[in-house]
């Protein structure tokens, strides 16, 4: 694909085009083909994702912008592309079996997943605030629909509606922030010259810039589910189809963090003191609330929802550190989190079966000796989420707290590790139930489909592999964050 027109290169957005093409193809096939063909959507999606990943690899080490400075073509974006593609591919794999249980193996489901992924890529690569907003909306609208996929289910409806209303509200905040910034910079929304313009603008525009910053934090804070903008998370995560919950916890969060980091590091280096202070408070509140409330949950999806809030808190610590290591840890942690969280959700789907009949944590009682492999995988993901070596979760936390200590936020690191301790309690409870309690309900056979087995294998091996040999990914991540001059 070397179609060159003076102002842009199509190949620099190759992955976007592929995903869009695949999504449209799926919709067309869905509309035109007789009923029997419908089973091929997952394969088509995976093919599209595979090609997109290949394109991402070929783009690796490109630098600069394209499309008249609207799109970043850099490793930071590509790293996130890879994370999104991985997350979406795993979601596709855990979806099919689950959707078939509900009789919902629809083409639009996969198309929407791919559109959402496209939106995430826009977010990670947006070089202009309007691009970022576009990405946010493309992603969010697709996810609103996906959350309400089970039309007959009141909870799914509630989830979709709640997410839509609050999401629209938060988008408005972000847009309003963009408008403020447009004024403050004197009419530019390009991330690459924003810092310089803000520096020139003088003291009079300072309140405007601060207001914009605050609105940005609200908008992104909502998407990453940081306290106090987290209220929607538990209900939406519980009500949405489990596969979509996994997708939201992983992909949406990662994309929002990508854009958040880019905006903070590129546009607001001058206001670092201010946003670091705000995020410090948000990080502590997010970690603590997420972990403490997770203890009280008995529904596994709600527990994982609160755990995902807590993890957003750890990721905010990486932003607070605002140094190179912090950015690296953000990237590493998001990848690690994708693996361990999707793995955990894979187990939740396998155990849940038959239209989510087994979602209480007590349904995991005795799993350890009924289904040893499944329980071992779940235990591994729980220990990884709790940050216990030798898993990716430990290395991720190690990086994040290293970054905080390096930046001098020792108290933040201490609060962070104490939060890990709290989290150990509820993750450990799952292992207690699995290995130390007699079975409560007869679980019966668990249908290990090839797709779900693949997910568990890939995530389990991945969690261990990048936990024991973190060097390769670390170097990739260091390479990816070199684009931030202010770090």
């Amino acid at each position: 694909m070397t179609l060159t027109i003076p102002s842009f290169t199509l190949s620099s957005i190759g992955p976007w085009l592929t995903l869009t093409g695949t999504a449209i193809l799926i919709l067309l096939v869905d509309a035109l083909s007789p009923k029997g063909r419908k089973a091929y959507f997952p394969q088509l999606s995976l093919l599209g994702l595979g090609i997109a990943l290949l394109q991402t690899f070929r783009l690796w080490n490109h630098t600069g912008t394209d499309f008249a400075r609207m799109v970043y073509v850099d490793n930071f974006a590509f790293f996130f592309y890879a994370v999104f593609i991985l997350g979406t591919a795993l979601t596709v794999l855990i979806s099919r079996h689950y959707l078939e249980d509900y009789g919902k193996n629809l083409g639009e489901y996969y198309a929407l997943l791919l559109f959402a992924t496209l939106g995430m890529m826009l977010l990670a690569a947006g070089a202009h605030l309007i691009m970022i907003f576009l990405g946010l909306e493309v992603m969010s609208i697709a996810v609103y629909v996906l959350a309400g996929l089970f039309r007959e289910d009141a909870k799914s409806n509630e989830a979709a509606l709640k997410y839509l209303v609050l999401g629209a509200f938060s988008s408005a905040f972000l847009l309003f922030g963009i408008a403020m910034l447009y004024g403050a910079t004197g009419g530019s929304l390009y991330l690459d010259d924003m810092a310089a313009r803000l520096a020139q603008a003088g003291a009079l525009t300072q309140p405007l810039t601060l207001l914009a910053l605050a609105l940005f934090i609200v908008g992104f804070g909502f998407k990453v589910a940081s306290v106090p903008f987290h209220m929607w998370t538990p209900d939406v995560y519980e009500g949405a189809p489990t596969s979509i919950t996994a997708f939201m916890a992983v992909g949406v969060k990662a994309a929002a963090f990508a854009a958040f980091a880019r905006v903070l590091f590129l546009a607001f280096p001058a206001l670092k003191v201010d946003w670091v202070m705000i995020l410090w408070v948000l990080a502590v509140a997010t970690m603590t609330l997420g972990n403490v409330v997770a203890i009280a949950q008995t529904n596994i999806k709600r527990m994982l929802a609160y755990s995902s809030i807590a993890h957003a808190g750890y990721l905010l610590v990486a932003l607070v550190a605002a140094n190179q290591l912090g950015a690296v840890s953000l990237l590493y942690y998001l990848l690690a989190y994708t693996l361990m969280n999707l793995g955990a959700f894979g187990v939740v789907i396998l155990v849940g079966r038959k239209k989510d009949s087994y979602l209480s944590i007590y349904d995991y009682s005795g799993l350890g000796f009924q289904h040893p492999a499944l329980a071992a995988a779940m235990a591994l993901f729980m220990f990884a989420l709790a940050g216990i070596p030798p898993t990716a979760g430990f290395v991720g936390k190690f990086y994040i707290f290293s970054a905080a200590v390096q930046a001098g936020y020792i108290w933040l690191a201490i609060i962070g590790v104490m939060n890990s301790l709290v989290s150990v309690f509820y993750y450990l409870r799952i292992t207690v139930l699995m290995y130390m309690k007699p079975p409560e309900a007869e679980l019966g056979p668990v249908a290990f489909t090839p797709a779900l087995t693949t997910v568990l294998l890939v995530t389990a091996v991945g969690v261990l592999l990048i936990g024991i040999f973190p060097g390769f990914l670390y170097n990739l991540a260091v390479n990816s964050v070199k684009i931030f001059p202010s770090l």
């Binding site: 216990i388 030798p390 430990f394 190690f398 200590v405 690191a413 201490i414 450990l428 130390m436 060097g471």
Partner: protein, 511 residues
Amino acid sequence: MQLPILSIVIFFPLVGIVLLLFLDRKNHKVLKGVTLGLGLLEFLFSLPLWFRFNSQTPAMQFVERYAWFPSYGISYYVGVDGFSLLLIMLTTFLTPICVLATWEDIQHRVKEFMICLLALMSGMLGVFVALDLFLFYVFWEVMLIPMYLLIGVWGNPARRIYAAIKFFLFTMFGSLLMLVAILVLYFHYGKTTGTYTFDLLMMYGVAIPFHMQFWMFLAFGLAFAIKVPMFPFHTWLPDAHTEAPTVGSVILAAVLLKMGTYGFLRFNMPLFPQAAWHFVPLFSILALIGIVYGALVSMMQKDLKRLIAFSSVSHLGFVMLGLFTFTMPGVQGGIIQMINHGLSTGALFLIVGMIYERRHTRMIADFGGLSTPMPIFAAIFMVVSLSSIGLPGLNGFVGEFLILLGTFRTNVVYATVAATGVIFAACYMLWMFQRVMFGEVTNEKNRNLKDLSWREIAIFAPLLLFIVWIGVYPNTFLNKTKATTENFLAMMDKAKASQTAVSQGFKGEAR
């Protein structure tokens, strides 16, 4: 090329786990037999460490070093010196004994039990040989999981889960603060020297301002003090000991607790020597409280396992007291006492396990006059109890004597208080022994108890051998630790001298 003995010793149990995975889970005899074989092999593999160890040098031996994560300064770096050698040998020595002790005790989920046991061995050995702080931390944490499962899955049905979670959370609490301290240390070292590394030996030399040493000593110290456990962080221990299966208690007492005292010797004191001197009174007094309090509480216990658990608090208090004297006899005595406690308390837990297997109770009141139906058992129990009390000629005496000797040199008051602990120890052990073993058989159920089988005698034989050996000729063991201890003390004295010089310098300026 030299054979990587240490790596073989650390990772052989993991290889064993892979082997176990392929065995039939229903065939318990084979599972236990294979694990016993693995344990014996493991001990065999570790023997070269003992025989080829050069006791003349304080340097690390059998060193292996591979870059693991170079951009972060993390390497796979292991080695052995006088401090770790004895503990490694103790661990590998106990492995086959523990497997043998599970023969009757563990009857369900044998395969999983053996897997946990082997994983635990691997983790503990890793802790004792790691010379890279990151590597050390990984082993330190990894080892928690199998121990937690041992207590939680195979423990006493009533309260095993409570004990397992308490054990996990207590240990985790300390180690997470230690993690932050490790990071602070890492960045401090990086900033002052320009090299970012987790290499422990390189960090030994670096100058750290006192206020930083103070906090980092406390952070590391908390992690280790919980593990030791020192008063007032000991509350997890009686629960964990009491609820764990016999073998769990043995490993917990014999090896796991030593990770705490070893941590002080290997990390806390050499890394933060000035702070270590500063904290001598605090830690000595906590150790003394532990000695007396542990002994007094032991006396009042009705449950044999709890009694031994609290006696551990007392014994480990001796070890800590010895280490914090920073004198030759004190430190060497502390090290020897770690081994002694491993042997005697390990044996005591085995003894309790054996009568529990026969009677399904551990209450002292349920026994009485056991020496009539079980004469061999009585003899062994007697020797082990006396060794735990510290009777001359048995191992406990050597350790306690050296520790008291070292303490007398530095502080007579401490030594006097500690000496009362020895008396209390005699009280609770002998009183317990009397109530369980002597007199008429009061409970009819006890009249026909079977004496020890050959398997059970085989478990005790090696333990008794070393109990006597250390008691009669401790030099075999003291020699191995001598060079390392001398070097350690020289380092500590230098740090003290420089600290005094600095503080006198301050005073001089003030004038």
